[in-house]
């Protein structure tokens, strides 16, 4: 008897609480910045592409929906010649973001991706690349990496000594 009354009271109380359901699409729900939605490719603080085409996202992807093909610029930077995500297969698991050593690939709180034609869910690099740095503002892989690129010679990265003069007689 008491439990039935308590239930009735709870239901009555719930009538006055604010609804979680919103009138989508007129009204948008709040999705936190780390929500796993549409995937983007970001740029480093200098505005250069962060993706170095290392293929780790592609290998981490449980549904094998990411294709990356490597290219090298004149300046020696590795970057993606092809970067394709087949969103019709993507399960938004975020493994690619976890695997990415350069913070290039990031998931965003955008979930409005429905299409009538499945073919339109195949995103190429130009559809994925954004102009900002996404969630991680400071990280610049090439400042840490030992590989020389145009504008950063050997010995100029973080925690690097000047290149050794092998002709010197000093030990």
């Amino acid at each position: 008897m008491m439990s039935q009354i308590r239930t009735l009271l709870k239901v009555l109380k719930h009538t006055f609480t604010k609804s979680d359901t919103v009138q989508f699409p007129e009204q948008k729900p709040y999705l936190s910045p780390r929500y796993r939605g549409r995937i983007v490719l970001t740029r480093d603080p200098n505005g250069d592409e962060r993706c170095v085409a290392c293929n780790l996202c592609s290998a981490a992807c449980p549904v094998d929906c990411i294709l990356v093909e490597k290219d090298e610029t004149q300046g020696g930077r590795w970057q993606a010649k092809t970067f394709r995500i087949n969103f019709s297969r993507c399960i938004m698991c975020g493994f690619c973001e976890e695997a990415c050593p350069t913070h290039a690939i990031q998931l965003t709180p955008d979930v409005e991706m429905a299409e009538y034609d499945r073919q339109n869910l195949v995103y190429e690099k130009e559809h994925l690349l954004i102009s900002g740095s996404g969630k991680y503002h400071e990280y610049n892989f090439y400042e840490i990496c030992g590989k020389a690129i145009e504008g950063k010679n050997i010995g100029q990265a973080q925690n690097e000594a000047k290149p050794i003069d092998i002709k010197s007689l000093l030990p």
């Binding site: 170095v52 290392c54 293929n55 780790l56 592609s58 290998a59 992807c61 549904v63 094998d64 929906c65 990411i66 294709l67 990356v68 093909e69 490597k70 090298e72 590795w78 394709r84 995500i85 087949n86 019709s88 297969r89 050593p101 350069t102 499945r118 073919q119 869910l121 195949v122 190429e124 892989f141 840490i144 990496c145 030992g146 590989k147 020389a148 050997i154 010995g155 990265a157 925690n159 690097e160 000594a161 000047k162 290149p163 050794i164 092998i166 010197s168 030990p171």
Partner: protein, 901 residues
């Protein structure tokens, strides 16, 4: 003979052979012992300190002592612990120290995913970097078109210099500076000169040396579709893994075959694959319309209709030209189509004569045919008339290893094992097994040669005949040189004669064969090896009667031109001058060319059928020692390409494999063993061509169609174009109870071992890879044959005649390899070489042009003086030499005056 010893690892007993070190023993028992500096072919030096294990005196000993397993021989009753806490800590601390200076490069390193350092770091348990300090850096060098140099990544294991200098005899890579500053490179930037430099990419445990052409179309190792194949760039038939993705061949990896290439390939084999990706590859059927003088593409059905029409024309006289670089199956299909009398080998006259002599002698069992492995085990080599470094480079590497045998024997007396590299070198010093080279000019092997004789072909022959006489009746009428060489051969336990067909000198070859035959009578262990021109030259010659070569064919075209000429994978313009050939080919009504690339011959064709490259076909190839080997396709054929025998299948009634192999066997009894390839498709298991972690499968073709199609089925072999099948790499289980799977292995991988070093985890006895190779010359059934003796007139020629000889080069000799851009970059300019004396005699200076003519061709090339060339010899580039043909003359206006010998 090796005996087995029992050793106890972590209190379990194991049986291992007694001639190996503890590290190799542990690896072959499938234990994950980390190491860097050890290499099965290079031995141990104990430089990296990574393979430490705990060794105990006896059962009571509980303290033990740390030993480097690579430096420790296995002994009976030995007790060690691999899992010991102290040993594990030692290994983990050691790798942490090694890694302090290693850059944060893995995402942008070509080695990533195929990296021994990555594997070993994880294996030793060093997962997080604690060192916060400054990293030392190094400037990089330009090392030529084959390799990238990234010295920051170096861990100082010394493998590169040990391989390059000690194993290959290279001079231009060295180690500089000391301690943390240690630097592996050249004195200054420049092309690495050695022919085996490409192996550094596999030898280096990390990414200091990486494959440059691969980097241009880079794919991570876990995405590479791979299959066992055979290198098609020379006659040795080295075993390779061809790797592919998206219809592009990405990289060639070594496939361990202890009998042939072992762990190393030459640069031509490793980088010569780019013809498959070349823009000039043929992918459609092209037909020439004579009325409109236009070329248009045909579909499959119309191509066959046209083919049928031409084949069935009344009074049709059909001639086929087979190819030395195409498989036995393809050549046999053409052989059936045109008939035995109309089938000609796509090689020149003098080469086919040489090949017929070789096969007859091999069949007669008068000589022992060696494999490369056996060459490495001989103790004296007489190398005659062949610059093997340029024509079949892998042989040169084996000969170089042979010279170390005397040192190894010397060391054995002191109880030093062959793998104890440093001690062995200390004892060896300059001791070398005798290598005697007789050639027209000095070769790259001369630094290890006991005698290096640069002689004109006539003098070479005289010397060989003297050696032969001495070997037969021990007379002292011979020259001292001949006696010294003959006694070197007689003093050896297992001497070898190595020669080749590239001197195009039949007398020289038969002299070598006779010497080998005489030696075999006296020493049962003596051997013989002969390099031929292309991967299947020997196989092709078995399908042809004598005189069925293109030189004879061209002569016969003049008198009675055929109505239809079917040319398979042969560029006739390599053999004849343009003018001569064009006039002859114009007499033929229809020309069909089956080829993979647009060559000059293809441009003359009325119908072009696109052929598959080595990477798109399953093929049987017979190498120069009569070893028939099976190569598997790595990708499905591109576009309209088909294996030549499939193009012809509808027209020669060999429409299934069974009939084809039956036909092959009916051509020559020597081809009987090929019957085993009939049943090759039927196995219990299929093998996957793709690794387990093959990625992007739902995205690769999504730009074309988001729908996913089933992988293409390979009905010709039991390999799949997918990840389905037994895993690519198999190893023995600890208790040796592996189920025998006979499907071919498609790659090198082992759990926790992602790099190619995983090959060291295979068991020592397992010969999985070479199971499918059959030697066609079996010793049981000998067919008697007498090797022809020398004709008097040839070696009685006056000595002052000038001999024009071919000059070979590793990067220009093979026609397909020259399509590779990296190889083309290193191809030398065509030059004529001679010595100063010869130049004075012809009154010509270095850089001036010399004209050489023959009956139908003329070359005019600048000269270069080299004093290591024999007197009376003019070296012309191999390609030009072939086109010159016979009756070569140096213009008479040069030859006035006395020639003083």
């Amino acid at each position: 003979m090796t005996n087995k010893v029992t050793l106890y690892i972590d209190n379990l007993s194991y049986q291992v052979p007694d001639n190996i070190n503890l590290l190799q023993a542990c690896l072959s028992l499938n234990m994950d012992v980390p190491y860097f500096c050890w290499h099965p072919a290079l031995g141990s030096v104990g430089a990296c300190r990574q393979c430490a294990v705990m060794q105990y005196q006896n059962e009571e000993d509980t303290r033990g002592r740390l030993v480097m397993s690579c430096m420790t021989p296995v002994t009976e009753g030995m007790r060690i612990s691999f899992n010991n806490e102290k040993a594990h800590t030692f290994r983990a601390t050691n790798i942490e120290a090694i890694m302090t200076n290693h850059p944060h490069d893995c995402p942008v390193c070509e080695e990533g995913g195929d990296c021994h350092l990555q594997d070993m770091t994880l294996l030793s348990g060093h997962i997080k970097r604690r060192y916060p300090g400054i990293k030392r850096t190094h400037n990089n060098q330009y090392l030529g078109p084959f390799l990238n140099h990234e010295m920051n990544r170096c861990i100082g294991c010394y493998r590169c210099v040990r391989f390059y200098r000690d194993y290959c005899g290279g001079k231009d890579l060295n180690v500089f500076s000391s301690k943390n500053n240690i630097y592996f490179g050249r004195t200054e930037s420049g092309n690495l000169e050695n022919e085996f430099s490409g192996n550094l990419a596999e030898v280096c445990p990390t990414g200091v040396f990486t494959d440059k052409p691969f980097s241009k179309h880079y794919i991570r190792k876990w995405d590479l579709q791979s299959s066992p194949s055979i290198c098609t760039h020379c006659s040795i038939g080295c075993n390779i893994y061809a790797t592919e993705r998206g219809g592009i061949i990405r990289k060639i990896n070594n496939r361990l075959n202890q009998d042939i290439n072992g762990h190393f390939l030459c640069n031509r084999g490793r980088f010569g694959y780019q013809h498959v990706n070349h823009e000039n590859k043929i992918s459609q059927v092209w037909s020439r319309d004579h009325q409109s003088n236009k070329t248009h593409a045909l579909d499959n059905i119309h191509a066959h209709i046209k083919l049928k029409k031409w084949l069935n024309e009344s009074n049709a006289r059909i001639i086929g030209i087979g190819s030395p670089r195409s498989s036995i199956e393809n050549n046999a299909a053409l052989h059936k189509l045109v008939g035995a009398h109309n089938f000609y080998a796509g090689i020149a006259k003098n080469e086919l004569t040489q090949l017929n002599l070789l096969t007859k002698t091999y069949e007669s069992n008068q000589i022992n045919l060696l494999s490369l492995k056996e060459i490495e085990q001989t103790d004296t080599v007489l190398l005659v008339g062949e610059d093997v470094t340029q024509t079949a480079p892998r042989i040169a590497l084996s000969i170089r290893q042979m010279t170390k045998n005397r040192g190894i024997n010397k060391a054995e007396k002191f109880g030093i094992k062959p793998w104890q590299d440093e001690a062995l070198r200390n004892i060896t010093q300059d001791t070398k097994s005798p290598l005697i080279i007789i050639n027209t000019h000095e070769s790259k092997l001369s630094d290890v040669a006991k005698q290096n004789l640069n002689l004109s072909p006539n003098k070479q022959l005289i010397l060989l005949l003297e050696i032969e006489t001495y070997l037969v009746n021990n007379t002292s009428h011979c020259s001292e040189l001949a006696i010294s060489i003959a006694s070197d051969l007689l003093n050896a336990n297992n001497p070898a004669i190595i020669t080749g067909t590239h001197s195009f000198n039949i007398e020289l070859l038969s002299a070598c064969l006779r010497i080998s035959a005489i030696l075999k009578k006296q020493k049962n262990n003596s051997g013989f090896y002969c390099a031929t021109s292309a991967v299947n030259t020997l196989g092709l010659s078995l399908l042809c009667e004598p005189e069925q070569d293109i030189t004879h064919l061209i002569e016969s075209i003049e008198s009675e031109p055929p109505t239809l000429l079917v040319i398979m994978e042969t560029d006739l313009f390599r053999y004849f001058s343009d003018k001569k050939l064009t006039t002859y080919l114009d007499k033929i009504k229809h020309i069909i060319v089956i080829d993979q690339l647009i060559t000059d011959t293809v441009k003359m064709a009325d119908l072009v059928l696109p052929a598959t490259s080595f990477s798109e076909q399953n093929a049987t190839l017979i190498n120069n020692e009569g070893r028939s080997q099976r190569a598997y396709a790595v990708m499905p054929a591109n576009d309209m390409r088909q294996t030549p025998y499939k193009w012809l299948a509808q027209h020669n009634s060999l429409d299934d494999d069974h009939k084809l192999y039956q036909y092959i066997q009916s051509i020559d009894s020597l081809l009987q063993p090929l019957s085993q390839f009939k049943s090759i498709n039927k196995g219990d298991f299929t093998s996957a061509r793709q690794p387990l972690r093959s990625s992007a499968r739902t995205a690769f073709f999504a730009n074309v169609d988001v729908k996913e199609y089933a992988p293409i089925c390979d009905d010709k072999s039991n390999l799949t174009y997918s990840m389905e099948g037994v895993s690519a790499f198999r190893q023995k289980t600890l208790d040796n109870t592996q189920y025998k799977i006979t499907t071919p292995v498609t790659g090198v991988w082992s759990p926790k071992w992602n790099s190619s070093q995983a090959i060291n985890k295979t068991s020592l006895e397992d010969k999985n890879e070479s199971d499918l190779a059959v030697k066609i010359f079996n010793t049981a059934s000998a067919v008697p044959f007498e090797i022809p003796t020398a004709q008097q007139k040839t070696y009685n020629q006056p000595l002052n005649t000038i001999s024009v000889c071919p000059h070979h080069h590793i990067y220009t000799n093979d026609d397909l390899a020259t399509f590779s851009s990296s190889i083309g970059e290193l191809a030398p300019k065509p030059l004529i070489h001679m010595n100063q004396k010869q130049a004075n005699y012809l009154s010509i200076k270095s850089g001036e042009k010399l004209t050489i003519t023959s009956n139908e061709y003329q070359i005019s090339l600048p000269c270069e003086i080299h004093n290591t060339i024999a007197d009376g010899v003019i070296l012309v580039p191999f390609i030009e030499y072939i086109r010159l043909g016979t009756n070569i003359q140096v213009p008479s206006n040069y030859t006035d005056g006395e020639y003083d010998d």
